[in-house]
């Protein structure tokens, strides 16, 4: 239930930590854009597989952890693709089954294409997103936001939110365990009651934390400013050119497969 810090934990220990965030973002965001531009399902699949290999082999993310992570969005994508394949209209019929007099499941070439397309897009897009979140810690992203001139208010807020996520998750875990030890989740009715109590206490905790935050900031002469850290290694040409080459190859593939 509380796998919250695993993503950040992994990001802080990945082998690409020292690579400049620009390079990693270029690869991640570039891949997402290319996935959205491709008209077929082959290129996104290639993208997804190559990115996964990069995540596991180069960034040295634990394979089991990665597959578990990927399983969550892919199961949703699989169900959606399944429905699209059976229910969307098409001309060339491949297979059909009359389940009830009023419902016929038909797979057509077009629907199959469309289903695979949706699935592969989700697959590719998720791999690209996971690449970013598994190799770039949030703290690096805050520095990037500052460089891209995103308003301070937005960055400050997200930094505070980021800081407190961990505190609240820890609090939630403690309360949840305390409820569990006193058999709070044994019956369904009981579970609903316990769950609502959990949220109630978290709300009060967060209210308290907010007041404490203001005191802590006041104690240190808060004057509307929040320090930003922009320290990364310089952009490395080797990794940057490798990323650019990869993106060019993908573009080439898109052009080639779409004729």
């Amino acid at each position: 239930m509380f796998a919250h810090d695993f993503l950040e934990e992994a990001a802080h220990h990945n082998a690409l930590l020292q690579v400049h965030p620009y390079t990693k973002l270029l690869l991640g965001i570039g891949s997402i854009i290319l996935v959205l531009l491709t008209p077929n399902y082959i290129v996104p699949c290639i993208l997804a597989i190559t990115l996964s290999i990069v995540i596991i082999v180069v960034a040295k993310i634990n394979l089991k952890f990665y597959l578990k992570l990927l399983g969550i969005p892919l199961s949703f994508a699989f169900i959606s693709a399944f429905i699209i394949i059976f229910l969307s209209e098409g001309v060339t019929e491949i297979w059909s089954l009359q389940l009830f007099p009023w419902l016929t499941l038909t797979i057509t070439e077009e629907s199959l294409n469309q289903g695979l397309h949706v699935f592969s897009r989700v697959f590719g897009g998720m791999c690209a997103l996971f690449f970013i979140s598994l190799t770039t810690p949030m703290t690096d992203l805050f520095g990037i936001m500052k460089k891209f001139k995103i308003p301070d208010l937005f960055i400050d807020l997200s930094m505070i939110i980021y800081r407190y996520i961990f505190i609240f998750m820890e609090k939630t875990r403690q309360i949840y365990l305390a409820q569990h030890m006193r058999l709070g989740y044994t019956k369904p009715r009981e579970a609903i009651k316990s769950f609502s109590m959990l949220f109630g206490s978290i709300f009060i905790t967060s209210w308290d934390a907010g007041e404490n935050l203001i005191h802590a900031m006041d104690c240190r002469c808060y004057n509307g400013k929040y320090a930003k850290m922009i320290t990364s290694n310089p952009v490395e040409w080797r990794s940057l050119s490798a990323v650019s080459l990869y993106l060019f190859i993908i573009i080439g593939m898109i052009l080639w497969t779409s004729g």
């Binding site: 935050l213 006041d218 104690c219 002469c221 400013k225 929040y226």
Partner: protein, 400 residues
């Protein structure tokens, strides 16, 4: 003309809404360079009193003066006071507000409108001071309790306060972590900072503080040296505390007819001395006489040099004093035997015929020499103490 006390509290009264008074009739003078411990049970008003010092709580009645001027509660003056009086919360998770260590320590300096260069410099120095170099990019949830506490202290140090106020600095730490923090506070006090802590750990307060302020139900019931404050059993009972074990021991020894000196014992060393005086000489001086205390300056010795010295000479005990020395020891792969109250423990070792090595930095070296010399003079002893560098230069390595 008499100097103004650094902070003076006069007849403070304060009550939280809908509850009984948290502070009543509080008057206290705090002088520059003091080490004060507020000691009392839970709910005695310690934290509330500390929060009035930097204007976080405005007392209902009474005045707080800082450098002789009454504190005013407008935004600009509060900012000035809070820069000069650094407050470290009990729970570091409350105090650490930024997603990385560097950003958190930089929070104060940035809000004080330092230039970027100065911010970098002060943050670097503050982290250096508390022994957390290289932790810049670490997120706080990855740190241990002691490290979080250090980050919190660094965040306050970065604003260069004259006074450090710490609410229960050791309440969430393991014993070794607490000793480290108390050693750090000693070091900061040595650098000229006035330090005020609250605690209900009587042993810790008894050993560490220059002055103890006992509190009970929002009132100060005693203020004086640790010996004075804890000697009165009635006061200690009223404050829901207990007598420090060393004091109790000496009281019990005294009641059994042992001669106890004017000054009550504060350390194990003092107790040993009392027993020895009654014993007319050392309890049992080992055949080779006193052990030597060697003092090394980590700024002047390199890691390999220490390793060769350690390989050639054998020390029974290695003590490390101060954060910088601790960092060096860690880098050199040394595991110190003592990291708190180092000098006293090494004198104890020396009296028992064991040699010891104290690694420390700069001004603390003279402190070690001073302490041992004073001890020798007052107790008519001759514990030898020598600097590691000198003995190395004269090629007369100790213990070889």
């Amino acid at each position: 003309m008499q100097m103004h006390p650094l902070i003076e509290l006069k007849d403070l009264e304060y009550a939280y809404p809908y509850s009984s008074p948290a502070l009543s009739g509080i008057s206290l003078r705090i002088q520059r360079g003091e080490k004060i411990a507020l000691v009392g049970s839970n709910g005695a008003g310690k934290s509330t009193l500390l929060l009035t010092l930097n204007g976080m709580i405005r007392p209902d009645r009474g005045i707080v003066t800082f450098h002789g001027n009454p504190v005013s509660y407008d935004r600009a003056s509060l900012r000035k006071i809070r820069q000069k009086i650094g407050f470290v919360f009990q729970d570091p998770d409350v105090q650490i507000i930024a997603p990385t260590v560097w950003q958190d320590v930089a929070f104060g300096p940035v809000n004080l409108d330092y230039t970027d260069e100065l911010v970098r410099q002060t943050v670097h120095n503050a982290l250096h001071n508390v022994g957390l170099e290289g932790f810049d990019k670490r997120p706080p949830y990855h740190l241990s309790g002691g490290e979080k506490k250090r980050v919190a202290i660094a965040g306050v140090l970065a604003m260069d306060p004259d006074i450090l106020v710490l609410d229960e600095p050791t309440s969430m730490l393991d014993p070794a972590g607490s000793e480290d923090i108390m050693d750090l506070l000693d070091e900061l006090n040595h650098q000229g900072k006035t330090i005020i802590i609250s605690t209900h750990d009587v042993e810790l307060a008894y050993l560490w503080a220059d002055r103890i302020v006992l509190m009970e139900k929002g009132r100060i019931i005693a203020s004086g040296t640790p010996e004075e404050a804890f000697s009165d059993k009635e006061l200690v009972r009223r404050a829901r505390l207990k007598t420090p074990i060393l004091l109790e021991l000496s009281q019990e020894l005294g009641s059994r007819g042992m001669k106890i000196a004017e000054t009550l014992p504060r350390t194990v060393l003092d107790i040993i001395r009392i027993i020895e005086q009654n014993h007319h000489g050392s309890i049992c001086l080992s055949s080779n006489g006193y052990g030597t205390i060697h003092v090394g300056d980590v700024d002047q010795i390199s890691g390999p040099a220490i390793q060769t010295i350690l390989a050639r000479a054998s020390y029974d005990t290695i003590g490390v004093m101060g954060s910088r020395a601790k960092i060096c020891a860690r880098q050199w792969g040394l595991t110190p035997d003592i990291s708190y109250a180092v000098i006293d423990k090494c004198i104890l070792q020396a009296m028992n015929g064991r040699t010891s090595l104290i690694l420390t930095t700069g001004g603390m070296i003279s402190r070690v020499f001073e302490r041992v010399t004073v001890f020798n003079q007052t107790n008519n002893r001759s514990i030898p103490i020598q600097s590691l560098i000198k003995s190395e230069n004269s090629d007369d390595l100790p213990g070889v």
